[in-house]
């Protein structure tokens, strides 16, 4: 063997050996950044975010049309909308971002560089979680302003609803202007601007108050806990879709994920003996997260229930990540149809 080339190899290996953690962190950060840019430039991401926000923006008008008796329905419908749109985004983002990269995109180049499969996979999981966080950051303020505005009973509270609808229109216009000036993807700017605008609108309207006395189940903390519960469901769904996509094509991974979602929704109503027990052990009862919005606000069980949901979610997602790594580490990076 050539001594000089071997020496260079040994020298380089020794030079980086002492900074393994820093190196891995730097790799994860670099891959996370491109994963995020890759996901955000896909038009489906802002389309889902804006459609959801727009639907929730007009929700407060329902009490107006139904003689003002359904303000609670607005809150629950908003949560359902977040869950449905969020599941679509989670399955799409998680199912495609790893599989497409491995078998169609830059994974071939990436995995020929000195990045470990673990760091690569962690960056992909983190990228999807950041996208879902942006989605929740956009959805939550709109959900809260929309739900609180519906407390205006027969009349919509324009002090809350006005800035919200204005912000929803202003965000894409601003994104288009920035994209035009920077000659970059409109989708990326739109997906990043909506959460910022949503938070700004919520900040200004919340400080001003709704003008109506709020019952407990419309207070900020309570609504936040319900939205966070839905966010945890989305993280679990995404982890499941991504783990399946380490070996399965996008349609198959998406189908199994949706099947698991349905089974999970059913598992709560099954008896806890025999197959029901096994089902409850392996597939989370997604309704558990949902129950948060049904617990009376003053109940002492609210905080422990949320904590239990959080722990269960983290455990489920972590187990899926470990399984994903075991499946991924020996996968061939080869061109496949998506």
């Amino acid at each position: 063997m050539s001594s000089s080339a071997a020496d260079r190899l040994e020298f380089r290996a020794a030079a980086v050996a002492g900074h393994r953690a820093a190196r891995t962190t730097s790799h994860i950060a670099a891959v996370l950044r491109v994963t995020l840019l890759d996901l955000l430039r896909r038009p489906i991401v802002p389309i889902l975010m804006y459609s959801l926000a727009a639907l929730m923006g007009v929700m407060p008008f329902i009490p107006f049309l139904t003689l003002g008796q359904e303000n609670r329905l607005v809150r629950d419908a908003n949560l359902s909308l977040i869950l449905m749109f969020g599941i679509a985004l989670a399955v799409y983002a998680a199912g495609t971002c790893l599989y497409r990269e491995m078998h169609r995109g830059g994974g071939e180049l990436l995995m020929s560089k000195p990045i470990s499969p673990l760091a690569f996979l962690a960056a992909k999981y983190a990228g999807v979680i950041v996208v879902l966080s942006l989605f929740m950051l956009a959805a939550t303020p709109v959900f809260m302003v929309s739900s609180r505005a519906s407390r205006g009973l027969v009349q919509v509270d324009w002090r809350l609803e006005g800035p919200l609808l204005g912000g929803l229109i202003a965000a894409p216009v601003l994104a288009a202007l920035i994209a035009l000036r920077r000659r970059r993807s409109l989708s990326q700017h739109a997906a990043l601007l909506l959460p910022a605008v949503g938070i700004a609108v919520f900040g200004t309207t919340a400080l001003r108050g709704s003008g109506h006395p709020l019952p407990d189940d419309f207070r900020t903390g309570y609504l936040l806990a319900a939205a966070a519960g839905v966010g945890l469901v989305l993280v679990n769904i995404a982890a499941l879709a991504m783990t399946l996509s380490t070996r399965l094509s996008v349609p198959v991974a998406a189908s199994i994920t949706v099947l698991a979602l349905v089974v999970g929704l059913c598992s709560g109503s099954m008896p806890m003996d025999g197959p029901g027990f096994l089902l409850n052990a392996f597939v989370p009862d997604w309704m558990n997260f949902w129950i948060l919005s049904s617990v009376p606000p003053a109940s002492p069980h609210l905080a422990p229930l949320f904590l239990w949901n959080l722990i269960q979610s983290l455990l489920f997602a972590s187990a899926l990540f470990v399984l994903g790594y075991l499946l991924f580490r020996n996968t061939d990076i080869v061109k496949k149809p998506t």
Binding site: R23, G106, E108, S112
Partner: protein
């Protein structure tokens, strides 16, 4: 002079060893779908340009992907400087250009090269220096901040080549490196690869463009249906010992008749007489160079590639001088 001659002593030691390498692609039910590579054994030496030649589906790309650790061999082994391709230490000294340059279309060339440099943990100033030099080397400096999605295929290939060299690699693996390039860019890429090999780097490339392979490779392996059919230097494989070409200045008919008559009398065979031809690539390049000299063109795409990047040029000096601890160890032996 080719590196194969310059580095004659170093060449006796292989840097890449493939032993009985096989790859079988299986379907979901583990049934054999394709035997892409079958019992391939080849050694590649330091400082040579080694070409894998074969028609589509002959196993070239599969072999290269196993070499860089993207595919797992079904059986057999690969050693790169004594290590497996999957080890991070091996990947630090490898540069790889895949067949299709799967770069992120939303990044600019500068951002893409910076991203790949980060994966080698280069410091900020070092990254910037290398990126600038490689952009200059590949003639992309003036379009460096445009998204890659707006590049032509040839320009994308140049970015691909630049990323393969970002880590100052010892071994460069290239799958169809000149695919999609115009003849001028293709010639420049071949010159860059030749000069890298002359500095002591090992270049392994695959191509089905026979002229490209003949042009720059020191040794060639010919694959067909996943099996090795021939391996050797270009001279060994292509020279016909039973024929001889004598090139003369243009001669009048009388002289020509005398020469052919003499050949016929001595060999009892009919000699072939024809005018030598340039190949189409040389003709095209001459034509373009003349046209370029005649009129200064306003290029909207890629510019003229520059010299090999400075840090790549310095390799020979650093790479061929063993560090002191190595020399002392040799002396002790």
């Amino acid at each position: 002079m080719h590196a194969v001659q310059q580095h004659a002593s170093a060449q006796q030691e292989p840097v890449v060893i493939l032993r009985d390498l096989s790859k079988v692609y299986r379907d979901f039910w583990r049934r054999t779908r394709i035997r892409a590579v079958q019992r391939l054994s080849v050694e590649v030496f330091r400082g040579e340009v080694f070409g894998l030649l074969g028609p589509n589906g002959s196993g070239k790309t599969t072999t290269l992907k196993m070499l860089v650790g993207l595919l797992h061999p079904t059986s057999g082994s690969i050693l790169i400087l004594g290590r497996t391709p999957r080890s991070a230490a091996t990947r630090r000294i490898l540069g790889y250009l895949p067949e299709e340059s799967p770069l992120y279309p939303f990044l600019s060339a500068r951002e893409a090269l910076d991203f790949y440099a980060r994966l080698f943990n280069l410091s900020g100033p070092e990254r910037r220096r290398r990126v600038d030099q490689l952009l200059e080397m590949t003639g992309l400096t003036h379009v460096a901040d445009r998204p890659i999605g707006q590049y032509s295929h040839g320009m994308v290939r140049r970015v691909g080549l630049a990323q393969a060299l970002i880590n100052d690699p010892d071994i460069i693996v290239l799958d169809e490196p000149t695919a999609g390039m115009d003849p001028l860019a293709s010639r420049q890429v071949k010159d860059i690869l030749r000069s890298l090999a002359d500095q002591g780097r090992t270049v392994i490339l695959s191509s089905h463009l026979l002229a490209d392979v003949e042009d720059i490779c020191d040794r060639i392996a010919v694959l067909y249906n996943g099996r090795l059919r021939a391996v050797g230097t270009v001279e060994e494989l292509l020279v016909r010992g039973d024929r001889l070409i004598v090139s003369l200045p243009a001669a009048d008919a009388d002289l020509l008749q005398k020469i052919t008559g003499e050949i016929r009398r001595r060999t009892h065979r009919e000699p072939d007489i024809s005018h030598p031809r340039r190949n189409l690539e040389d003709f095209f390049l001459d034509l373009i160079r003349t046209a370029r000299d005649a009129e200064a063109s306003d290029l909207s795409g890629a510019g003229e590639p520059g010299q090999v990047a400075e840090y790549l040029d310095h390799y020979a000096e650093h790479g061929e001088t063993p560090p002191p601890h190595r020399i002392q160890a040799e002396k002790r032996k």
